[in-house]
Amino acid sequence: MKMSEENGLLQRFEITGGDFGNAGKTSTSIKEILQEIGIDSSIIIRASIAAYEAEMNVVMYARRGVLTLNITPEKLHLKLEDEGPGIENLDMAMQEGFSTATDEMREMGFGAGMGLPNIKRNADKFDISSIPGKGTSLGITFCLNQTEKK
């Protein structure tokens, strides 16, 4: 995988809401790409965990979503934009343990209300915005430049 000079690597993945069988495939692919590029292994794990929880949220709560992976020499950026119900109360959604997951989702091993807090914990920079009735956007950034790391 080659990076172009200006924009780095840019790759787009589509995620289908409700498709529990394929849930996690995108994050698995992202991990493979990061390994291929030779990103630092501790950053690979943090980014993969964040991608996985974010992907599961799209599968569980939204109709469809797009994950965009962007890697430049300075940073690794994951953008998730979904079409779905959105989140009414972001402060509440960010609290550990808050979840509206169904039993079916819990049987998948998700829905403990730990996803968003864990994404935030792993990221160097985390942004979330949502329009109820329309969808949710996440921006998750990891610094690749050692000196800028938190």
Partner: protein, 126 residues
């Protein structure tokens, strides 16, 4: 009996009377710590690279989670086995899968009494 601080997968297989679903050729792999949960969000939050993952969650999310956090192997408790998709993924990623008849509590107890520490028994480096 001297306490162990690490065990091979082969020793773990014998202790737990486990069946090897895939990864028969990786049984000399050394395990230094383990953690058990049926909640993959928990595993993603507390798991550390190198962990032996004990779980009763048998869908392919267990294997995907193990791959994401660089787990060394998975032991399914209560005689569970993952679905075909999970086994294929584990094979592709070189993650050995074992299945024991023991329930979670007993599985953890057996390993812990041999001296194998939990995730939190390791010094954390944030």
């Amino acid at each position: 009996m001297p306490k162990k601080t690490k065990m091979t997968l082969k020793e773990i297989k014998e202790l737990l009377q486990a069946e090897v679903i895939t990864g028969e050729d990786c049984l000399d792999r050394e395990i230094r710590f383990a953690g058990g949960s049926d909640l993959m969000s928990d595993v993603l939050a507390f798991g550390k690279p190198g962990i032996l993952l004990l779980t009763g969650l048998s869908n392919s999310q267990s294997v995907r989670t193990a791959n994401i956090i660089d787990a060394k192997a998975i032991v399914y408790v209560r005689g569970k086995k993952p679905d075909k998709m999970g086994i294929e993924l584990a094979r592709g990623k070189g993650i050995p899968l074992l299945s024991t008849k023991f329930m979670m509590y007993t599985t953890c107890g057996l390993l812990f009494s041999q001296g194998l520490p939990g995730v939190n028994g390791l010094p954390h480096k944030e």
